[in-house]
């Protein structure tokens, strides 16, 4: 894949370039701040951009805002955001245009190369990838009458994996169960939460996230 890398931390940037090249990807450009990310992404049209959230010039959520700018000019531009921190409200911003092809992961997830590679491919293919930490934060939001309380522990696991943006196949592999069992769990979850069933993975992720954020 052709990859654009945006991170102002040189050490991590070089490590990532090395890792991505070893995985057989082509790093088309490396930038270190928000404005040059926007211009490079729009001119080079990479298969996916890997973006650090905190970058110059503001050193706040520059990467997130650059991503929004890029996706305004180029709807559905695949962007995977990395950050030392994950916060639900940043994920909310990222998912706001409901187009998919976005990911939001903790930086240390890169260490699990297979997982990271999988996430890259899912984002490039138009999927949604959310860090388990974000999903955990969403799940911890309790309510007075918590509809999640009706779920079995296994169904909660499946729900969490769905929220991370996994397909049924991936869920089955992670939980070491059959795909048929996953489909049954998914159907139960949608029934218990009164969500309309949907075969499309990306729309399903959005439905689950909308529910969790409500």
């Amino acid at each position: 894949m052709r990859i654009l890398l945006a991170d102002d931390a040189v050490l991590l940037r070089e490590g990532l370039v090395r890792l991505l090249t070893e995985q057989g990807h082509e790093v088309v450009a490396v930038v270190g701040d928000g404005p040059s990310l926007v211009s490079s992404a729009l001119s080079l049209r990479p298969d996916v951009s890997i973006v650090d959230i905190r970058m110059p010039p503001t050193h706040t959520d520059e990467g997130l805002r650059a991503a929004a700018t890029i996706r305004q000019a180029w709807p559905g531009a695949p962007i995977l955001l990395l950050s030392q921190y994950v916060e639900v409200s940043y994920a909310d911003d990222l998912l706001a245009d409901r187009r998919g092809a976005v990911g939001y992961l903790l930086k240390d997830r890169v260490a699990d190369i297979a997982e990271f590679s999988d996430a890259l491919h899912r984002v490039a293919a138009g999927g949604t990838v959310l860090d388990p930490e974000v999903v955990a934060q969403l799940l911890v939001r309790r309510r007075v009458r918590d509809p999640l309380a009706a779920l079995t522990p296994r169904e909660r696991e499946v729900l969490a994996l769905m929220a991370e943006g996994r397909s049924n196949t991936a869920i089955a592999r992670t939980l070491v169960i059959t795909e048929g069992a996953v489909e049954k769990h998914v159907a139960n979850i949608f029934a218990k939460l009164s969500l309309p069933p949907d075969e499309d993975t990306n729309r399903r992720v959005l439905a689950v996230l909308t529910f969790l954020r409500s």
């Binding site: 905190r54 503001t58 706040t60 959520d61 305004q72 409200s89 911003d93 699990d112 969403l138 007075v144």
Partner: protein, 467 residues
């Protein structure tokens, strides 16, 4: 630092002149008999004391009584001053006897307080001054009213054939003729009414002048010392508050640094050492036992993840990125989302960006209170309310737990008191046994005002969330 309130700044708006005329006239005219009576009473008291002084035991109490009488008269005068000088009444502090003083020392207290002597002095001089000002004001009013209404009562002036007609006579010449007019009814009325009108036009100025003369004399003698003392007290209080604030800031910072050092030492530092050891082992194992090497590297990877988690937690404890990026509302929402019991969050949707100090102080207060809720309270719910009344930021955390929280109990709340004080704010904790617990923080001047925006760059460049 709080600006010092200048007690001499006028606060009342400019009144309409008619109201002021009434106020001033009443002040001076009531002051006329009052001043006379006051002067006579105090003079009598002083004379009595002087006469009785040879019999010391009788003279002293009379003098003390006179001093208290003067104080009473002074208090009345202070109340009367306020509307004339258009400023709030000055509350004067008479130093009381020390709490452990003996009866005689108590009796003699007025002699050591200079204000009593000034009160006596005022009572003595106000009479003569009142005589002049009161006489002037009375004359002006009488001529004004009398002159303007002359047409109505001219008939009552006796027209004695022996005297030239007309009431008012200057050197045996009727007033009208002084002005070179024939002595007719119309002319007599015209002249006297004109004089009345002249007095009427100058009346507000003359009355105001007299009132101010009398009022400033009283103000100087009765409030001057008190004003000075108030200023000194204000300055001293501000200085004390600033010193306490600095001390609290230093203490809060020292505590935070110590804790940070300990957390780094116990957490990420240990993990990094462990990772270094593991990697060293793995290098040795590579040649002999590649499978063991893989396991060791996996362990090292797990340790790095733990180390990163700990560093994240630490950074959140220093300056949470979401707070810097998005402000208090978003940061508190994130806190609530991570909490272990359901939290109701009530923060105005239009809460503006605040000063970094205010945001951090409020955030850590709420974070610490919520930690307390989770660790000690046994609560099943909690509520966070943030509001921005006047020029203060008020944050309240309430839970339905068992109560009994206290700043001295090592609940982490003790550090908060310092933190709040360092920001110039205040912390209240209400936690009766059995609950509920309520922690309330008030932080002054939370709004960034352009001049005071260090580190507040994030507040300006963000027009709204990306679409």
């Amino acid at each position: 630092m709080t600006p010092i309130a200048d007690p001499t700044v006028a606060v009342a708006p400019r009144r309409r002149w008619l109201v002021q005329l009434g106020v001033d006239s009443a002040y001076v005219l009531v002051g006329l008999p009052l001043g006379g009576i006051a002067g006579l009473l105090i003079l009598a008291g002083l004379t009595g004391a002087a006469i009785l002084m040879p019999l010391l035991l009788l003279g002293v109490p009379v003098l003390v009584g006179t001093a208290y009488l003067a104080r009473g008269l002074a208090e009345a005068e202070r109340a009367r001053l306020a509307p004339v000088l258009r400023r709030p009444r000055v509350g004067v502090y008479y130093r009381p006897a020390p709490p452990d003083a003996k009866a005689l020392r108590r009796l003699l207290t007025p002699f050591t307080e200079v204000q009593y002597w000034l009160d006596i002095l005022h009572a003595m001089v106000r009479g003569p001054v009142s005589l002049v000002t009161g006489g002037t004001v009375l004359t002006w009013w009488l001529v004004t009213l009398g002159g303007l209404t002359y047409a109505l009562w001219e008939w009552a002036v006796p027209l004695d054939p022996a005297d030239p007609p007309g009431l008012i006579v200057v050197n045996n010449v009727p007033l009208v003729e002084v002005f070179g007019l024939p002595n007719t009814f119309a002319n007599r009325v015209l002249v006297v009414t004109a004089i009345g009108a002249a007095f009427a036009v100058t009346l507000p100025f003359v009355v105001r002048l007299c009132a101010l003369l009398e009022a400033w004399l009283a103000h100087g003698l009765l409030n001057g010392v008190a004003g000075l003392r108030d200023q000194v007290a204000l300055l001293a209080r501000d200085r004390d508050a600033a010193q306490a604030q600095t001390a609290a800031a230093v203490s809060a910072e020292a505590t935070a640094l110590r804790r940070l050092e300990r957390d780094i030492h116990d957490g990420p530092q240990q993990r990094l050492v462990r990772i270094a050891v593991d990697l060293g082992r793995a290098r040795q194992q590579l040649a002999s036992d590649p499978e063991a090497a893989t396991r060791t590297v996996d362990e090292a990877l797990a340790q790095t993840r733990e180390a990163l988690d700990e560093l994240r937690t630490l950074s959140r404890g220093i300056a949470p990125p979401i707070l810097t990026d998005r402000g208090l509302a978003a940061a508190v929402a994130a806190l609530a989302a991570r909490a272990t019991v359901p939290i109701d969050v009530d923060i105005p949707a239009d809460l503006p960006r605040l000063t970094p100090v205010a945001e951090q102080t409020a955030y850590f207060t709420i974070a610490e209170a919520l930690t307390n809720v989770a660790k000690h309270s046994g609560a099943t719910r909690a509520a966070v309310v943030v509001s921005l009344p006047d020029d203060r930021l008020v944050a309240t955390v309430t839970d339905d737990g068992r109560g009994g929280a206290h700043v001295a109990k090592g609940h982490g709340l003790a550090g908060l008191t310092d933190r709040l004080q360092a920001a110039g704010g205040e912390l209240w904790i209400s936690s009766p046994p059995g609950g509920p617990t309520s922690v309330r923080a008030e932080i002054p001047h939370p709004l960034a005002d352009g001049t005071d925006r260090e580190g507040g760059a994030a507040a300006t460049h963000r027009p709204g969330p990306p679409a």
